[in-house]
Subunit: 215 residues, 2 copies
Amino acid sequence: MKIGFIGSGSAAQTLGQSFAKAGHDVKLGARNPEKLIAWLSQLQQDEKVSIGTVREAADYGDIVFNATPGTASLTALSDVGSQALQGKVLVDIALPLDFSNGELTLAVANTDSLGEQIQRAFPDTKVVKTLNTVSSAVMVNPRSVANGQHDLFISGNDADAKRIVTTLLKESFGWESIIDLGDIRSARGTEMLLALSSRIHMGRGHMNFNFKVVG
Amino acid sequence: MKIGFIGSGSAAQTLGQSFAKAGHDVKLGARNPEKLIAWLSQLQQDEKVSIGTVREAADYGDIVFNATPGTASLTALSDVGSQALQGKVLVDIALPLDFSNGELTLAVANTDSLGEQIQRAFPDTKVVKTLNTVSSAVMVNPRSVANGQHDLFISGNDADAKRIVTTLLKESFGWESIIDLGDIRSARGTEMLLALSSRIHMGRGHMNFNFKVVG
């Protein structure tokens, strides 16, 4: 499968490299792609990973990931344009982190979510929210935590799109349990989980954990 | 231990009855205590459970529980008054549910929480937020879910108060793991978990589940 990334930070790099290892073809899209040349040159699977503009990455992907910082996502996606994203599955892994008050909060929460904002801005795109509850290391290696016995969550209005992404994550990274929470409004739940997981992160001193729903 | 309840709804009744079974003395406080007489008369441990006004319940308790609806908590607690709560441990189990927009949201979230609001309104009271992430059936019977292998969370500014409540819940109900999230601001995390757990509730059709942190 061809996978394009809007954004080229550490999450995009980790996911892109891991998708390539799993056999997929990957293009990371950046505002300044040349800054990724050093990273690209040290990849072992460099024939399966390429770089380009955000628009080129969106055009390239059968599936497109939004891996930009959450507070910059709507601007970055509007630079891509609705044409390039039309009809496509857009996997939104971003969190709208807001540090402006000197503490970690969300720029949008409770009555709305970033996933919903993106879906409203791109009504002809199939927005799927997932992966946003774990660190990028856990995203691509769920078995590193409790032998994979924990849950990922997925939200979106399009059932087929959720099925495609669920299969992709299970086959590429070994996720065993991905819980369908319902429509894109349920992205509020996983985005708001940040307030709990950031405290658990502080308490443990690492992000190599996840939640498991039991019962 | 003497345990007083501000509020007399189903959570207060379930907790009160279960604390009495565990050997504690309980007083449920209501605006109209006479409406509880029918409930009280069918209890097997009625000698350990009494009813009264909210002020009487607060005066009575070595530990006081806020079991009012979250959006009514500040008013109910102000009816009790800061005098009766001064120096006491106040266990806040409430969620500020807001259905006014036709969907389930929180009346306060993200940059504040009900737990913090109560702590600010009663600075001489030791507010401890806990139990607010599970149904009342799970609160008092954690072993009914995955044999008790899941986590409760606790938040508060006073370490001694959190220790007292942790011991009370472990000894009374059999909780095995209660994770200290830090100061009362961390109540945001457990209150905001509602957005996720309500979707899991919808998906499963029951509330007999909980979260376990793994890794």
